[in-house]
Amino acid sequence: MFEIFTRLADWAAYGLLRLSPDSQLGSAVHFFIEDVTKIFFLLAIIVFAIGFFRSMLTPERVRKVVAGRSRAVSYPMAVGLGAVTPFCSCSSVPLFIGFLEAGIPLGVTMAFLIASPMINEVAVVVLAAAVGWKVAAMYVVAGLTVGIVGGLLIEVFKLEKWVEEYVWKIRMGDTPVQQGASGFKQRLQYAWGQVKEIVGRIWLYVLVGIALGAALHGFVPQEFFLKYASADNLLAVPSAVLVGIPLYSNATGVIPIVEALMAKGVPIGTVLALMMSVAAISLPEMIILRKVLKPQLIATFTGILFFAFIGVGFLFNALLT
């Protein structure tokens, strides 16, 4: 199905630019061209299709749906909706306050915030196109599970005391009823607007990710990864997670790196743990959340995710290698 992009890259890299498929530069350039065309094509198509069919899934609606449910329902719902609800990280703070104000438990709110950046429809489809549906499905299941476990732990430890006091005092007005796009033409317009907005927001991350993936693919020899990142090396997974924590990229932007690493024989658990840690937690996100969370809670939250991602990495490495 995606052969056309391979052929296009063959033509551009080996035909047009006259690079040799066996040279380091040739294989890096090939990877870059193939991934740029494939990922941006998929990105535009998926965002457009989703925008068209699901015109209005807003954080305000999620809040209404999740509020007042039992925990057995609200946790799975929070991570599931977290995965499919689009919101920009600059809205994390109002979203956080809005959830708590509606009486949604802190654990459920955190579960939403953990799952949201890690999983989204676009990343899942692009991941499946790059490394197969099986890996993509495992990534989703692992990500949802980490979200639920992370939220539950925050609830069990009763960490509400580490939320800034002012947050509890804010009272929200009535949430305005948003007019969803209706009618064919409006839906088209909305979907196109979504493409412009989302591609505009993440294109740089994706491009940097592809460039890094291409460099790994072309210039770093396989032996390097066999030596340092094999499943036998117990430090590989924790190091991958540790490196990923402060870094930020959109989930889709990490995928070319995932693709390159897997092709070099880095075990799947190690790669998925890296992807989760890059997408889920980052220094900029922590700084934004500092407005509503005390440092102790940010540290605990980061610590929980650190161990959860390491667990995911080891589990998949043990099960699949």
Binding site: C88, S91, V93, I97, K169, I170, R171, T175, G193, E197
Partner: protein, 78 residues
């Protein structure tokens, strides 16, 4: 005169929204007052969770994205 309030904690999109309203109003020759609301409590009191949000004469007309020029023109000339 219409009063617009742009709700948002100071992100780039909020500034873009305020500028857009200002530009459109000038274009249409309508005088408007534009205020940026950055206090989280004040933003939430309008019930808005996704920023930027736009409030026109104390009614929330938009939230969650930079509005289109068309929408802005609609509010100004409404």
């Amino acid at each position: 005169m219409k009063t617009f309030k742009v709700l948002g904690s100071g992100c780039k999109k909020c500034a873009t929204t305020a500028d857009l309203i200002d530009t459109k109003a000038k274009e249409l020759g309508v005088e408007v007052a534009i205020e940026k609301i950055t206090d989280m409590g004040a933003i939430m009191s309008y019930g808005v969770m996704s920023t930027p949000g736009v409030v026109m004469d104390e009614t929330v007309v938009h939230s969650g994205s930079v509005p289109t020029a068309q929408m802005v023109a609609g509010w100004i000339s409404a």
